[in-house]
């Protein structure tokens, strides 16, 4: 039904386009138009289509609640008296009936009747919608056709509509971000109602176990985020120590030294690293690198945990290399050749030119690439889940096992969870912290780029 409405509207809009263009063409035979006939056509089509679409979208948004309200109004008294929980269950039955998940014999007769009413209201609503949409379409179309005259600025109108459409497209991304922020924020506020904010922010102990019964042992629960946060920073720090030098140096090699043939081989190979699923990196870290580091540590007389921050950080660093190298490669290649020649022409060697001219010129891009890579490292989950473990040790020793924010979120939310215990809600608080950190990093990255960007023409 909805598809038909949409299809009909699009066809009508196409027809409106043709009529509008035709009328404008006829007019253009007599005198000069402000806008070319295609713009008059587009304006006619849009004038019909947009109000009708708006109508359809509005109805789609409110259809469910409205139909439910109408159905509920027609129900027998007994259902209304059952209380909100039971009414909710009743409407679940109705929906299941409508989707065919249950047969009419499996539910109460009232539900079958309600389903029929629901179907009726739905069909009625959609028929009315189709009628009104057609009306809106026709009104807009007719209105636009009547207004076509040589001086009508159709081109300007169409340009304005296009600008609004583009703005809406950009707005979707922004609104989604805001929506995510608020959904995390509200759950986090529930958490902070149960656990004091300062305990969470500055607490040194993380042990998110709460008692189901009051007589359980060790069930007080401690929600200090510092150990988890420190673990995240430790692992991300190790990863950056690996990724920044390797990524940057390989980018310099690729952009400045590699011959074209070498470059065409190495660059895709390096980018394959980015295509490996993080789960596979997790295997690699847990089964290859971690035991290797443990054995190496043992032979040196060091006590290395089998799930060490070092192993995780190293593998994560390898994973991030292509991020930094391909971003840095792009910005280094974008430094104008004239700058390199200026430096070489003064007698600078290739490496002096790179160190003193090319890298400083490319620095804003490089820094923002690095900060994006940090966001990536902080948000990385899979490798850490598999290789770093769950014990929230507050330590700066990379040979110990640590845990990270993302890992804790995963463990808190995996499985069947009650959504009113601090244990589960803590995940949202952690998520909020993570969100704030990565947001801050991105803002800093943007500021750095803005401040140090050099204008090349």
């Amino acid at each position: 039904m909805i598809t038909t409405i949409f299809g009909g509207l699009l066809l009508a809009a196409a027809a409106a386009y043709i009529t509008g263009r035709g009328k404008a063409r006829r007019l253009s035979d007599q005198e000069k138009l402000h806008s070319r006939p295609v713009y008059h056509g587009a304006w006619t089509g849009l004038a019909g289509l947009l109000p009708a679409l708006l109508l359809v979208c509005t109805w789609m948004a409110v259809e469910g609640p409205v139909v439910m309200r109408l159905t509920a109004a027609g129900l027998p008294e007994s259902i209304g008296r059952m209380g909100p929980a039971a009414t909710g269950l009743f409407f679940n039955d109705v929906r299941n009936l409508l989707t065919g998940a249950v047969g009419p014999g499996q539910v109460r007769p009232e539900a079958v009747a309600a389903a029929a009413a629901w179907r009726h209201y739905l069909r009625l609503g959609r028929s009315l919608l189709a009628g009104f949409a057609a009306l809106a379409m026709a009104a807009g179309w007719g209105f636009a056709i009547c207004r076509i005259k040589p001086s009508f600025p159709a081109r300007d109108r169409v340009e304005r509509i296009i600008r609004v459409i583009l703005f809406l497209a950009a707005g979707v991304a922004v609104l989604t971000t805001v929506g995510i922020l608020f959904s995390v924020l509200f759950e986090a506020l529930h958490f902070f109602a149960k656990v004091p904010f300062s305990d969470f922010l500055f607490g040194l102990k993380w042990s998110p176990q709460t008692a189901i019964r009051s007589d359980q042992v060790g069930s007080s629960g401690a929600f200090g985020m510092i150990p988890v946060f420190a673990g995240t920073m430790l692992i991300a720090g190790i990863a950056m120590l690996v990724a920044v030098p390797l990524g940057l140096l390989s980018a310099i090699y690729l952009a400045e030294y590699a011959r074209p043939r070498v470059r065409t081989v190495i660059k895709p190979l390096l980018e394959i690293l980015a295509g490996i699923p993080t789960v596979v990196y997790g295997f690699f870290a847990a089964l290859t690198v971690a035991p290797m580091i443990r054995d190496l540590g043992a032979s040196l007389g060091l006590d290395v945990a089998s799930e060490s921050a070092l192993a995780t950080g190293l593998v994560m660093g390898i994973m991030i290399i292509p991020f930094i190298s391909s971003l840095a490669d792009d910005v280094i290649s974008a430094v104008p050749r004239s700058l390199r020649e200026g430096s070489l022409g003064l007698g600078a060697t290739r490496s002096e030119t790179i160190r003193r001219v090319v890298i400083p010129a490319a620095l804003p891009g490089i820094v923002s690439g690095i900060l994006l890579a940090v966001s990536r490292a902080v948000g990385e989950t899979m490798i850490v889940v598999m290789a770093a473990g769950l014990s929230a040790n507050l330590t700066a020793n990379p040979l110990k096992a640590v845990t990270t924010v993302t890992v804790q979120i995963v463990t808190l939310l995996v499985g069947d969870q009650e959504f009113d215990s601090p244990k589960t809600l803590a995940a949202f608080a952690l998520g909020l912290v993570l969100f704030v950190i990565t947001l801050a990093l991105n803002v800093i990255a943007l500021q750095v780029v803005k401040k140090y960007r050099e204008q090349y023409d």
Binding site: R259, P336, S338, L339, R340, E341, G342, S343, L344, G345, L346, G347, A348, T349, E352, R356, V357, P360, A361, E454, Q455
Partner: protein, 288 residues
């Protein structure tokens, strides 16, 4: 004056054929006076190839010191390529091969043991588009002296910066904002900054590749005046598209056409009594 021959970069291929002048019947040897008794810089039988394409054919020319020589000719005639041979900038292009002999004060600059870093300190270059580094004005000028270790202390650097900017006629305009980025200057100021940067390492020869083509007439006039002053101390070779500019700033003029050096002579002679019909057609505007 001799070069200290510490080789950092080998010269690319010097084994191409070397035809002797005048053996090609289709192309007579260069008209005018390409060779001089006394010269700072002399080229003999210079050939340049980009891949399989030959960009310069058997160029032989001398340049004398303390004089401005302009290289003119239609686009694509090889004058910039020739200029870039003189400080071996063509080595930065992978597919470029140079053969022949270029002597600076009697030393062949293409020999493998010549240190290209020191060569470029002696033969400076100013480019077509002003290309100040994304650094402060002071650091732009101090760049060359720093990489060559010409100055150790801040005072010495400041001295070099002030002298170079003064000689480039820029000091009065920028002395109060030496720490501002060089890229913030106007186009003409940027080009004078690039000239200051070049003379800061005290070169003997300055190569200029259409230094005014991106500038307005007033900035151009300033650069031309500057070139006139600089010739007292430097050997200047300038590529230009403007024949008026060539006649205003240079004492000698060389005319290139399709990779051949057609005619060389005193600027006055080339512009008033050209010996080769191509030169005459070019300067009278019949092609180019």
């Amino acid at each position: 004056m001799f070069l200290s021959f510490i080789s950092r970069q080998p010269v690319k291929n010097t084994t191409a054929k070397k035809p002797s002048p005048g053996t090609d019947p289709a192309r007579p040897a260069t008209a005018g006076e390409p060779l001089l008794e006394k010269s700072r810089l002399s080229c003999r039988h210079l050939d340049v190839f980009y891949g399989a394409k030959q960009a310069l054919h058997d160029i032989s020319i001398d340049f004398s010191g303390n004089q401005v020589t302009s290289l003119i000719g239609p686009s694509g005639c090889g004058k910039s390529t020739f200029l870039r041979c003189l400080n071996r900038m063509n080595e930065t292009i992978d597919i470029c091969r140079v053969s022949g002999e270029i002597k600076l004060d009697g030393e062949d600059i293409n020999r493998p043991e010549v240190d290209v870093v020191l060569l470029r300190a002696r033969v400076g270059m100013v480019f077509q588009k002003p290309n100040p580094f994304p650094k402060s004005i002071r650091e732009n000028v101090a760049y060359g002296p720093r990489i060559h270790g010409l100055a150790r202390h801040r005072d010495e650097i400041d001295m070099i910066v002030e002298t170079s900017l003064t000689r480039a006629g820029l000091w009065d305009e920028v002395k109060d904002r030496l720490d501002e980025p060089g890229t913030g200057l106007s186009g003409g100021q940027q080009q004078r900054l690039c000239i200051a940067r070049t003379i800061a390492v005290s070169p003997e020869v300055i190569l200029m590749d259409e230094p005014c083509s991106a500038l307005d007439p007033i900035a151009t006039a300033r650069i031309e005046d500057l070139i006139g002053e600089l010739k007292e101390n430097f050997t200047i070779i300038i590529v230009t598209h403007s024949m008026q500019q060539a006649s205003r700033v240079s004492q000698r003029t060389a005319f290139f056409h399709l990779g051949h050096l057609v005619e060389v002579g005193s600027t006055e002679a080339v512009f008033t009594t050209p010996r080769h019909h191509l030169t005459e057609e070019y300067i009278t505007g019949r092609f180019g």
